[in-house]
Symmetry: C2
């Protein structure tokens, strides 16, 4: 029989073979569940979650009455800590960040728990204040969404953190003991809940949120929501509406949908809630309190929608380690932020699938150059679509990591499943469709159509035409075409290509792909080579 | 502007970074189309197609009358050769294998063409005899299917090769000038074809096949088909029947379906054939001749079905390079064959997605050990399903190369899209479903159900139960559980686990996954740890 002792070399995922790869385990002892994630990363370059363990510990169960961790909860918590520590040891992970939040923080007997975890599991729990907890939730939001001005609303099991963000910096924060577990224990004692209980809860929440005078919608602001119960509400809405994407991060929940979900949950017993498509059984009981909190927050602050951030405390802790490895505490002066979330996210995905950097950059250069040369009356895409064309160019070949055949389809699958933090779902759909149609086929949105805006089918066609021409001009992936000049006349378009070498491959390759250009721009395209050097023919 | 000169380092796909990686371009100058494929490989270890170019050259067009390549066809052929040579040069590929087949081989002016390709494109064409062409088609078939005894039927544009295989060796072969292009030019002059033309063609083919006295079905024999037009017929049948898999390799075409397709094509004009779902427009005209040839071959030889091999000449040439890098010519004594196609295919896929070898092997060890300990009256799976359980164990985590979240779904996607040569479509579906349900969920075949046999849902459930237990027993991927002993009593099952170290993680992990076992075997499972060392407690 083979020897199955731990062999880290064999356990490497591809990019973990990169030089400088590190692994960190982050253990988050929340009021409802304890979670462990393992991230593999090259500091500042790329990262990937490679493992996750979740255990519903309910460390805060029964705390509402006595403000102390109950003995049975402590036993469950210590046991989970031992399991997680054993998991890290067995996996050979020595860098472990362990944090405790609301329930543990607020318990009178917290020192006893922390001491037992230290002695019996060998883990050092960093107990986070509400402010620090909010800081990491904020870091996750600004590093994975385009939140510049607005709020982060983090709904935990024990507490709610609200952070006000201006120019990507946090300027206000508050932590309220209004987490989903506590709301249920404090207000919702019947099953199904009585309407009196539900309205008392609503009133309480409205008063609490109204008292925060800086928590109000202003023009240009975005409201970002975090937390497991909040994601659950998003999932229920997606299932109800047969939403075409299986991604929660970036999903914009409408207030009306949240209200309808709250009403639905209020009518159902916990047992019946468990039958709802998308419901997580272990959150069925606390889902009503959570939905009510979210709905009232939007109502009081005056937002029509909330964008879900699928990340939170754990990812915030990770971003600090990733972007500022030496930081040991929150920094409001210089928080560790990606310079540009959307670019970072596209590059991260591209690197995870080992994109061919030179070809991808060249491919990005060619269609953007054509894009910029389009006469204003010929193009219907704006600067924001230009950025999608860039992202699609960078990502167009990642599907080859699955299989060369149909790599356009595989690439779209990867983008739709891995997601692209920082892009809206409409944008992710358009990027995926551009990748889907970068080689052949007539671009159609099909099941993604509900995500698109009016005229996006025409925008898609124009961008797909430029990307496909670029792909063919660099068919041999050697960047032979150095420059393109695109001009329009009344009845046709002309593309002059300058090559650094033999232009026969690009000319041959582009020949079969001119149709999509005339379909997109209503004019036939003529492609002609021009010399790379200045024209030396003297006219006499 | 960045410098876009060729940078091969940046062009590497992941496994190309492995030591010893090589690339070879194979150019196949067929009668209908010229094709270029680029394979990346580590000799004898793993391989992957990384590029493909196809150009419909029709070098054999108009040959039926004069038995010589026509000037226009020669020009098209030389130009395609130049493009392919330019492509290889730009891509930095110096190892190029160029072969010519039927049309060129049979043309009186073939030397002229070969000479022009040498001078104008710098490519050395290796002209294959019909026998050698058949040899490489045979190599592709025996290295990508479970063909032990039977025939390879290779339908090209210019010729048909039939090879008889006994114990994986070829024992007879014949090459007939009955390729799809020639059949069309020789018999099918009207559009739509007249029924007189179709029956004359059928009669001619029947007579030709009947004259091959060794081409008859015998018990235990398999008929494998190759060639682009043959794949097209398979695709038409799959579309017509809304087949749930998008894989042609391994598809078993029924003779009745082939006959129905032949009849359908015979009724339609070429223009109308192009509207059929799955039709390749540039093969619409030659599809009827091809379908007739396939149908008559099955009828004459007495086969009910033909299994499609999606590979052919090009892959055969590649297998020679891959398995016997020093071979320069066909070898009937020691043909380069995988020892076991199914194992090679599972390992190749696993390595392409950087599987964690130690964990995968350990995971394979555990469920197979449990499988072997099942009392005969408790299990409904046989030895062939045991092999599927092995393959699923090896492949269960490959989806993590896409994303940790939902990696069970991604793994199933990879298997269903990349395929697993050597396994039937039913087997591929079962392996994918085992991977799909190796972590959670109730195994259901859903849209793959049409591929499964009676009782496969119960087989799936039993195998999934064993795989899931194994996955949890090695949750920390360190092989801590060294041995499992499974016994059944009248009312329950007992799993004793021996551990090499701390057993708390496996015991904790397996705790939440006992349901699937009782669902599969109708008895609750009790898991108990037993000491790794012999029991030293003395009984007094």
């Amino acid at each position: 029989m083979a020897d199955y002792t731990t062999n880290l070399d064999n356990q490497a995922v591809p990019f973990e073979r990169s030089s400088g790869m590190r692994r960190v385990a982050i253990i988050d002892m929340g009021s409802n569940s304890f979670r462990l994630i393992v991230m593999a990363y090259v500091p500042g370059k790329m990262f990937k979650m490679i493992d996750e363990v979740r255990e519903v510990v309910r460390i805060g169960e029964g705390m509402a009455e006595v403000n102390a961790l109950r003995p049975a909860a402590i036993e469950r918590g210590v046991r989970a800590a031992q399991i997680y520590a054993g998991f890290c040891e067995a996996s050979g992970i020595s860098d472990i960040i362990t944090v405790g939040t609301s329930a543990i923080r607020d318990a009178r007997n917290r020192a006893l728990f922390i001491d037992r975890v230290r002695r019996e599991a060998g883990l050092e729990v960093r107990l986070l204040s509400g402010e620090t907890e909010a800081y990491y939730g904020y870091l996750a939001a600004v590093n994975s969404t385009t939140l510049n001005n607005g709020y982060v609303f983090d709904l935990g099991g024990g507490s709610i953190q609200i952070t006000r963000v201006e120019n990507r910096r946090r300027v206000e924060m508050i932590s309220l003991p209004l987490g989903a577990v506590r709301l249920k224990e404090g207000f919702l004692h019947s099953d199904p809940a009585r309407s009196k209980e539900v309205s008392a809860l609503g009133e309480h929440l409205r008063a609490e949120f109204a008292a925060i005078d800086w928590f109000r919608a202003e023009p240009g602001m975005m409201l970002v929501g975090e937390g497991g119960t909040l994601r659950l509400i998003g999932r229920l809405i997606q299932k109800e509406r047969h939403y075409p994407l299986d991604i929660l991060h970036g999903f914009a929940m409408q207030r009306t949908d949240i209200g309808a979900t709250r009403d639905l949950l209020a009518d159902l017993s916990v047992a019946d809630r468990k039958k709802l498509p998308g419901m997580k059984p272990d959150r069925a009981d606390i889902s009503l309190g959570g939905a009510t909190a979210v709905y009232e927050a939007l109502s009081v602050a005056g937002f029509d929608a909330m964008t879900i951030c699928g990340q939170g405390l754990r990812e915030g802790l990770f971003y600090e380690r990733f972007l500022a490895p030496d930081a040991a505490a929150p920094s409001d002066d210089q928080p560790p932020l990606f310079a540009a979330v959307r670019q970072a996210s596209a590059y991260n995905l591209a690197q995870l699938y080992h994109y061919q950097e030179a070809h991808a950059q060249h491919i990005a250069h060619l269609p953007l150059s054509m894009f910029d040369q389009l006469p204003p009356d010929e193009r219907i895409c704006g600067p924001s679509e230009r950025e999608l064309l860039w992202a699609a160019s960078i990502l167009h070949d990642i599907g080859t990591s699955i299989d060369y055949h149909d790599h356009h389809k595989h690439g779209a699958y990867l983008i739709l499943n891995a997601g692209l933090p920082g892009y809206t779902h409409r944008e992710i759909a358009l990027i995926a469709l551009l990748v889907r149609y970068h080689r052949k086929g007539k671009p159609t949105a099909d099941e993604l159509a509900p995500l698109l805006a009016a005229d996006d089918d025409r925008r898609l066609l124009q961008m797909a035409a430029l990307l496909r021409l670029a792909e063919q001009l660099d068919r041999s992936r050697d960047g032979v075409v150095s420059q393109v000049v695109l001009t329009f006349t009344a009845d046709h378009a002309l593309l002059e290509i300058r090559s650094r070498g033999d232009e026969q491959v690009p000319l041959w390759a582009v020949e079969n792909h001119l149709d999509i250009f005339s379909a997109a721009f209503g004019k036939p395209l003529v492609v002609v080579p021009v010399p790379d050097e200045p024209d030396e023919v003297t006219l006499i």
